[in-house]
């Protein structure tokens, strides 16, 4: 009898958890102002709508953004430390039918193909709710441009060398 009650309790708990996990829905869309072909240094923004589809409030909501590089041979998670200062959002409670809208700006640091996803969990939920993927490609931007660097790194020593030559010639002609 006790065993049956225990199994029944576990069953209720599992069904409650499943209901809690399914209660959240996360929608992710790139902002309309994003450049069509972004390059390093540009800023992109993504907009999420987190909705509580259940009939009970969701408490202790946490949502965070993740970025992975998907270039062939360079697949890796990206540390957002340098990309964005806005990496997570929290809400103490989300009532049934209510939504939490968030913008996620990020500065593009490195070229490559990337996939962004926003995940959400709640205090009592046992599963992760993830948004659809949003993919984007960052074009390479020359960081140290040779056409700007070369005139300086060659020109200045030549200029000083010319000054030395002029001083030397002037000294000889003066004596």
């Amino acid at each position: 009898m006790k065993l049956a009650a225990l199994l029944l309790a576990i069953g209720f708990a599992l069904s409650a958890s499943a209901a809690s996990a399914a209660s959240l829905a996360v929608d992710l869309k790139p902002a309309g102002s994003n450049p069509p072909s972004p390059q390093m240094g540009d800023t992109l923004s993504f907009h999420t709508v987190i909705r509580n589809d259940a009939t009970t409030p969701v408490d202790g909501l946490i949502a965070w953004i993740s970025l992975v590089q998907i270039d062939k041979g360079k697949e890796q998670p990206v540390d957002l430390e340098d990309w964005s200062a806005h990496k997570a959002v929290t809400a103490p409670s989300l009532d049934p039918g209510n939504t939490l809208e968030t913008d996620w700006p990020m500065r593009l640091i490195q070229s490559g193909k990337y996939r962004v996803v926003v995940s959400a969990v709640s205090r009592n939920g046992t599963e992760l709710t993830a948004s659809p993927f949003a993919d984007f490609t960052v074009r390479q931007k020359p960081v140290v441009e040779s056409q700007r660097v070369l005139p300086v790194v060659i020109g200045l020593p030549l200029l000083i060398g010319g000054g030395m030559l002029w001083r030397r010639t002037g000294r000889r002609s003066g004596t």
Partner: protein, 250 residues
């Protein structure tokens, strides 16, 4: 024209218009050019690395400036003594403070020219990245007291030590020790001894401020503890130079 400005112009003129002085500037320009050329050949830099490039170059400029100021400061006293021109200078009606101020002015003008020389390089490697102008400003604010302090320190050594060679060796050892944060990794600097050294080392103060402003995008005003260390170093070195210069009798 006052004795101070006359001496400052003479010191700066010797450094900037003579062949010897131009060779100094050439050496600095070549060092910065080699660094720039190394960067051009690197195609794997990210935007963050661009800030790192500016940070590295600002650190190199400060180290080269410290070396320049140390040698110029040392030469202003010990070099003059070995060339036999210090005693005639001391016998002029100009006060020792005026002579000292003139020589300090020469060091300051030399640093000013070197700072100006570094600006095109900083612009060339850093104009597509972040915090370039802040980097230039923090180099002026933090680099100047650190570099000038080494100039005054060189003068103090030149005044106190009998030979210019001994003074140069001592000064170079002190300079290398001071610029060690550029060579040491962060883990070594975070140890107890490394942290204590960082707290009193003026060069560390400058480097830490560069890091905070250029890479971490912090405000320059927030760097006041580092600025305070650099100013204390400047005042201490000035006091050493002045007290040493007043002891010079030959």
């Amino acid at each position: 024209m006052s004795a101070t400005s006359l001496i400052a112009r003479k010191e700066a003129g010797e450094l900037l218009l003579s062949l010897r002085g131009l060779a100094w500037l050439m050496a600095v320009a070549v060092a910065l050019s080699i660094f720039g050329l190394l960067l051009v050949s690197n195609t794997e830099l990210s935007l963050l690395d661009n800030a790192q490039v500016v940070y590295d170059m600002v650190g190199i400029v400060t180290a080269l400036g410290g070396l320049l100021a140390l040698v110029v400061g040392l030469d202003a006293v010990a070099g003059e003594r070995e060339r036999g021109s210090l005693v005639p200078l001391l016998l002029t009606p100009a006060s020792r403070d005026a002579i000292l101020a003139g020589k300090l002015g020469g060091v300051a003008i030399a640093w000013g020219v070197m700072y100006a020389l570094s600006l095109p390089y900083l612009w060339a490697v850093g104009s597509t990245g972040q915090n370039l102008w802040q980097g230039m400003l923090v180099l002026a604010l933090l680099g100047s007291p650190v570099v000038l302090g080494f100039g005054f320190f060189g003068m103090a050594l030149g005044a106190r030590l009998a030979s210019a060679r001994t003074g140069l060796l001592t000064g170079l050892i002190a300079l290398v020790l001071s610029v060690s944060p550029l060579l040491l990794g962060p883990s070594l600097r975070q140890s107890t001894i490394g942290g204590a050294f960082d707290a009193v080392n003026p060069f560390s103060a400058a480097v830490n401020a560069y890091d905070a402003v250029i890479i971490d995008s912090q405000t320059i005003l927030a760097q006041w503890p580092h600025i305070a260390v650099a100013i204390i170093w400047l005042i201490l070195a000035l006091w050493l130079a002045r007290s040493g210069f007043y002891r010079v009798v030959r």
